[in-house]
């Protein structure tokens, strides 16, 4: 196995072009586990930790936060609770403090496990993934990124360089089920974002299908149920219907972490609760100043 450690993005892209099978590594919290379990023996490991561009974030002129792919979760939690609330909340649920110090959103996207904690917030908030290669840069919506089980829109010669997070214009929530109270892979998870400017609703479902999923019917339903100008508490039937639509969008299986029936049930409960919290928050945000 060769270990390449480029110090500039250009060198990294050239290495990736030359070795399309190279596995990028930043925190190593997924990649090293796979290597240790002998699930993969890549010819080349491509270390991205020395590339400055990947390890910082900034706000852009067009109203986004541009998050470098190799920024660790610990910094997302500490530095982006306002600019990316759902992603920060999801990052807080990743593994243990040591792993949050190492693991990155880019790594979560590269592995593309349906149980990855950051996918539901990226779907719900309509984030964009920036991909780069020696051929140039391109942007793919998170909503178009996950193609099938552990397969994404990223081409073999591309690296994930950044995630573009729209500046929030409404409440965002994330909830995750684990059978213990910390350090657990999601049994299932759910993210909800209300976008007050566009008057849209975003959802994301984790660990309940071959890829991270959206509940599009639930989004459409809710978009029309909310009175965006003067939001009131939603009737119980609306909240319940939203939960049902979220559960219906899931495509879960029975496995060692939980049953399909439980996953659907838990998604409906999390959908109802996050909706209630979001409406409460949104009413506060839109209330006229006293």
């Amino acid at each position: 196995m060769r270990f390449l450690s480029p110090s500039t993005l250009q060198e990294a892209l050239e290495a990736k072009a030359e070795h399309p099978g190279a596995v990028p590594i930043t925190g190593g919290t997924d990649v090293m586990v796979e290597l240790n379990f002998d699930k993969h023996r890549p010819e080349v490991l491509l270390d991205l930790t020395r590339i400055p561009e990947l390890t910082h974030w900034e706000t852009t002129d067009d109203g986004h936060t541009r998050l470098g792919a190799a920024v660790p979760y610990t910094r997302v939690i500490a530095e982006l609770p306002t600019l990316a609330p759902a992603l920060a909340k999801a990052s807080r649920t990743v593994a243990s403090p040591q792993i949050r110090n190492r693991g990155t959103v880019g790594g979560n996207l590269g592995g593309a496990s349906p149980a990855g904690d950051t996918h539901p917030p990226l779907l719900a908030t309509d984030a964009t993934i920036e991909l780069a290669s020696t051929r140039g840069r391109r942007r793919v919506k998170a909503r178009d990124f996950y193609l099938s089980f552990r397969t994404t829109a990223r081409q073999d010669d591309e690296l994930i360089t950044a995630i573009l997070l729209p500046t929030p214009t409404g409440p965002q929530h994330f909830a995750k089920i684990g059978t213990r109270n910390a350090m657990v892979i999601a049994v299932t998870s759910f993210a909800l974002a209300l976008n007050g400017r566009d008057r849209t609703v975003g959802t994301g479902i984790g660990s309940a299908g071959p890829t991270p999923l959206r509940a599009e019917a639930a989004e459409d339903f809710l978009t029309h149920e909310i009175d965006w100008d003067a939001p009131g508490l939603l009737p119980e039937t609306t909240v319940r219907r939203f939960g049902e639509l979220v559960a219906a969008a899931a495509r879960p299986i029975d496995d060692q972490r939980g049953s399909a029936a439980y996953r659907r049930h838990a998604l409906s409960v999390m959908a109802r609760r996050t909706l209630t919290w979001s409406i409460t928050d949104y009413r506060k945000e839109t209330a006229p100043c006293a």
Binding site: R180, N181, A182, S259, A261, V269, M270, R273
Partner: protein
Amino acid sequence: MPATTRTVTDLTSTTKDGIGASPLRPDGTLKVTGEFAYSSDMWMEDMLWGATLRSPHPHAEILSIDITEALKVPGVEAVLTHEDVPGAKRYGLEFEDQPVLAYGKVRYKGEPVAIVAADHPETARRAMERVRVDYRVLEPITDSRRAAMDPQCPLVHEPGTIPDHPEYNQRGNRLRHQPIRTGDFTTGDPDAALEALRARADVIVADAYEVGMQDQAFLGPESGMAVPAEDGGVDLYVATQWLHVDQRQIAPALDLPQDKVRITLAGVGGAFGAREDLSMQIHACMLALHTRKPVKIVYNREESFYGHVHRHPAKMRYEHGALADGTLLYATAEVIVDGGAYASATPAVVGVASSLGLGPYEIPHARVDAYGVYTNNPPCGAMRGFGAVQACFAYESQMDRLADALGMHPVDLRVKNSMAQGSRIITGQEIDMPLPMADMLRQARDLPLPPDREDLPDPADSRTLPGGVAGTTRGEGVVRGIGYGVGLKNLCFSEGFDDYSTARVRLEVAGGEPVVLVHTAAAEVGQGLVTVKGQIARTELGVEKVVIAPADTGVGSAGSSSASRQSYMTGGAVRTACHAVRDEVYALARGRGHIPEGVGDDDLTLTGGKIVSRARGALVSLADLLDDGTVVEETREYHHRPTEMLDPTLGQGSSHTQFGMCVHRAVVDVDVELGLVKVIALDAVQDVGKILHPLQLIGQIQGGSTQGLGLALMEEIQVGDGQIRNPSFTDYLIPTILDTPPMRIEVLEHPDPHSPYGLRGAGEPPTLSSTPAVVAAVRAATGRALTHAPVRPEDIVGIPL
């Protein structure tokens, strides 16, 4: 040992603290600074790495094994199969039924089939991939109830291949069936007796219960190093629980006399019963003797799940009948424990599950049948609580159900039927030591409760809520519940087993100060025995500097570090040897004229490094007395009082050495809509007879309580068709610190007149009672029956599994 990485060394510490104090562990600093050498850290310049090829099938015939291609891999120095086992092809703790390497058949997934030694672990792995094994896959026998009850069930072991133990009522796949009958069940027609008792009972409760397969989840994987010796023997450095029982099993397989298999304890990263059986020991020795080089084997985590025994999963049916005032009239129990493919400790587990099957309650008429069976599931054996854990979950669940049916407080029902000193358990054995059960229950009930949620500084702080920072609730769906549990555990080995311990104690003067060396073969597995041995030596010999020699087979057996027995047994042996040394010191001093006429040994103590007369004060210092290089050394064995086998028809007999008890009160918050649980408090009352080391004792009780909490809420090896579905710490969950609540622990000291210092083994009792207490609390919050441990989210929200 010419190792680059330090393996095992003396542990020296100097302190005044004897028993009752909390001196630092002599290995504590090394462990917390990461310098302690665990067995997997050992390394030698010229060593080889061993690896194990395992069966991918739970049940299959082996048609052929071809090692030709494996041997061609550069760097491979040996590939061995059952044909290369020098001596006995089978071994075992109780029955010699387990092949060193499979021949003829494999009986569980993960069974070792071939072993490889190579210059690098990667080389060994590649060679293993090139061993060709042709299997004819057979239908696995995986239903323990069918294995126990169905005479048509195919056999896991061919007839005539298993040692015959008529006292165990063996039949078909039954390894042991132990019946127990008392009262009206001893005579006449048992079914008629049951009907008559049912007619007399005012309330009857009955249900079926299950306990899943729990893993010991030690962090240090199975590992060790075998070094071939000049004399044709082998030196083995290994993390184990009982050096001499390893030696007894290894030597025949190698066709060596016992004294040519010398074993030294390497650093042990947890045990909890899982190291009582052999894992890599014989394999490493075979490879070392074959290659004439040191061979190290370290299992990886997934392999470890296949490489050690687990807690027996149990299927149980219970029925209790009581009078309207709560007085228990009768109880019946059927307990089936799944031993998996090989016996391991299953017969002894059945002995405990039967004799303690109804717990610490006065029940005039009892009918218990406990079965241990062979299946093609992973082998099960010793784990903290050893058969008593499974039964305790069932009988405590029954007591709660009965209290509910009678409209009584669960503590009141338990108090009403509680045993005490002088009671007889269902085997007829008298509890001839203090057992203040009723007081302990009341004390647990009356402990202060944690604050209600609305009284917390921030009731919506996610860290205090079920689900934690995963943010699933801000209080929605959260209901509090309280539950109780009590368990009775046998301590030390039972049923006629003379599990003695041996200690060698040496007193001498070095550098002008007296030094005591304590040498035993007792395994330090994390419990702190190295501390306690030093404390006993200090208390008995009045010195400050104590050296704990590495545990090895150079001294007699210490028995196993299990059954909560080492403070009792090895503590007893160290104390006895210290007394012999003390007597020798007095005789020496007397011979040298330091002790005046008329001053008897009874008037003397060893205190502060001196022989002190109660009447006349200090007589001579040990430094002066032994200044000429005199060494006083004594070796002593310590035996507990003898016990009896249970008789095979009525299950009567004084089978146990000592009894221990813990009472738990659990307080939980349950998200009843999501099925998630946060344990808010897990408080305990335990009688330990005598506290030797307060801090270590609390650690034992906290650890045992947490292991029981794990069994209540999350710990289960999921087995389907003989395959483990979650062989990793990603999917086999054990409690984290955020799952572990504050624990108020009240320790009582009612001395046992039969034991050293009056102590009682303390490690296991909390593991029994915490599981039913936590589950009872979840029941109280949810109103659901919850008959399976661990409770799964599906069970709470009502989704069938």
